[in-house]
Symmetry: none
Subunit: 408 residues, 2 copies
């Protein structure tokens, strides 16, 4: 949960806060002494905000730790990503747009190849391609188990996600992947057979075993994907919502399902809109501006370019956000944070642990730190210092004048 | 123990990490506006690494806390020095090169002066000099107690250390120093007579009381040092090892026993070598380079000079390390950290709480922070920010690409 000292101090003043996340924003120079992606990008609007506002850099999770998108966003939302682990099944499911509510059981699935005796010969079904997987996915989607609702969605290649919905379920279940070939998939069983979760987990186990049995029946004629294993059973962790934690009516403007899903876990509404450019997203923000106190706007392509090792592409995405920014500023937010959930340096072609540039603009009250441009070196020397991403919401609420004095 | 979130993320890639500690590295200017020892030193090699790598500053224990060498090193090794207190007896013993293993009982000893009635007239035996102490030490070293092995070693002036080894011992024992003159030394007794430790502690108490009785017999003719008191009974705290915590085969290259001892407590091998210059130490590192994933190299004299108030001497030691550095860099470490365990400003002639300069060089992935020299002011503005020494190992593992992603 968010820092418990915040809630008693909350003060409602109608101010509006925007958290603009460019996914994987932080970068590295390709050569020593060179510039990062953000330092290379021409960003006159962000630089203007940097001059008027205050800079810093965030540590996404803990020093040295490279985050996945789930925990990295959770941290920026103010929830300790170490204490509040979201089950892998839930992240996989929300990542492909499946709704997971409390009591639902979400799980990650793999297609595997079984021999005539039911033993696994390939744990990833020959690294099945996405095209090859689709017919098998369709068959799974037609499986019905009385008493519960099932939703199956493809993730990538041999991977899929399943959500089971219905009363009386519990996700305290063990994985069915035996982790080696030559063995049969395990049956689903309660992971804590003596615990309080056991009765409902037992019921869920029985239903998932029915699903697996049915899956093996309908997949029997598939050349590679004739079996499945399930891992990471989990449910919505029941995190306190933004409204409850911060008194903020919050919404998410994002193109990709993963980010809508994670924000839904903390009670944000996911705004539907057409298009996928920064300008489209800012237009969506404008449309719902009066209905919310807090908007999380997510830009995906900075991260995608970083993952592809496309330094120039990432520069261009950043520039496109900067170009559209006046549209967002025209809404006159009281607090604007611009940052990333983590670094994705094109040089590394992957997420990384490096501190992430952070810009806080809040004309009512921001300090001046003399930094003149939004970039890694300026942020490292910024007035907000180096801080855990998890502290960002506290800074936002403070700068929104939404926190009363602590103590007399 | 080290941060528990690290272990599940560990990934073995054969990279090599070096932690070069110049003891007491941090300093202060003698006059306001002046330069510190490190800022004064000519360090072209370190400056080059600063330009290529990234700077920051560590808080050794917690803000404002001046550390001893034991906790300061423990922190840099990634173990919380507040949670993982190493008993004073163990630190004293390992400080003079005595091995302390789990189950051994180590304790600090003081010579004292007793009157004819056995009451203490001087708790430090007239601040006995080291030369005066040696004959008394030799007599203690000849004491034998059936059933256990005893090792006694001189520390300094009136102080010594004792380690008792044997089965069935427990260090939950009270001090024998009554803390005032005119009283007899106390008998050794279990500190928790009702606790689970009491039976074995009772046996240890009996054996230590035999040792004291025998000591008083063999010292009876000494003019000043005719009695002893014992304080700080402790055993090896059983810290998880580097191999267990980080998956690193680790070794220590140090001249002084204290540092070998502390590193041995976390499972490092202490490398034997001839000589005591930085060049000798780097040569020893080169000799064992292929055998380890992690090398801790300790330079003592920066601290000794600081303690002596010898500003120029400390500058020269730093310059000698810099001069030898190419020898270390020729080994091509994947990650090099250069820092101190704490500050020892010549101005203060003692350890201090000030943040310590920290340099991280890791060519595969370090960020650029635009700092051009290794010194306190540059480090305070460095891209790594100000962080707990305890976070250094996380940063090292991250930069060594030895940590998998946290969460999806």
């Amino acid at each position: 949960m968010p820092y418990p000292y915040l809630k008693p101090l909350l003060h409602h003043n109608g101010s509006r806060i925007v958290l603009l996340i460019m996914d994987g924003l932080g970068g590295l120079p390709l050569e020593p002494g060179g510039r990062t992606e953000l330092e290379t990008a021409l960003t006159p609007n962000l630089d203007q905000l940097a001059m008027e506002g205050c800079l810093g850099q965030t540590i996404p999770i803990r020093p040295g730790i490279t985050p996945g998108s789930g925990p990295a966003h959770l941290a920026l939302f103010g929830y300790d990503p170490i204490e509040n682990e979201i089950g892998r099944g839930v992240l996989e499911a929300v990542g492909v747009g499946l709704a997971v509510n409390q009591g639902d059981v979400a799980v990650r699935g793999n297609f595997c190849t079984l021999d005539a005796g039911g033993l696994i010969t390939d744990r990833r079904a020959g690294r099945l391609s996405t095209a090859e997987a689709m017919p098998a996915i369709e068959r799974l989607q037609h499986i019905q188990i009385p008493g519960v609702e099932l939703e199956v969605r493809h993730v990538k290649e041999y991977r899929f996600a399943v959500v089971m919905r219905g009363p009386g379920l519990n996700p305290a279940l063990g994985d069915t992947d035996p982790q080696e070939t030559g063995k049969a998939p395990l049956a689903v069983e309660p992971s804590d057979p003596e615990g309080a979760s056991a009765p409902l987990a037992g019921r869920a186990a029985q239903l998932f075993n029915q699903f697996i049995q049915e899956a093996h029946r309908v997949l029997a004629d598939q050349p590679k994907a004739n079996g499945i294993t399930l891992r990471g059973f989990a449910t919505d962790p029941g995190l306190p919502t933004y409204l409850d934690s911060y008194g903020l009516r919050a919404a998410c403007v994002a193109v990709y399902p993963m980010y809508k899903g994670v924000s839904r876990l903390v009670g944000m509404d996911a705004i539907e809109f057409a298009g996928e450019t920064p300008a489209d997203e800012f237009a969506a923000a404008a449309r719902v501006w009066e209905d919310y106190d807090f908007l999380f706007i997510h830009i995906k392509k900075t991260d995608s370019m970083g993952e592809d090792g496309n330094f120039d592409g990432k520069v261009k995405v950043i520039e496109s956000v900067d170009a559209a920014l006046p549209q967002l500023m025209a809404l006159r937010p009281d607090v604007l944070m611009v940052t990333g959930d983590h670094s994705t340096p094109a040089k590394l072609r992957s997420h990384s642990w490096h501190p992430v540039p952070f810009l806080l603009w809040a004309p009512a009250a921001h300090m001046q730190d003399g930094q003149s441009s939004f970039g890694e070196r300026y942020c490292a020397a910024g007035g907000l210092g180096t801080f855990l991403a998890q502290e960002a919401m506290s800074l936002a609420l403070g700068h929104a004048l939404r926190l009363n004095k602590y103590g007399a």
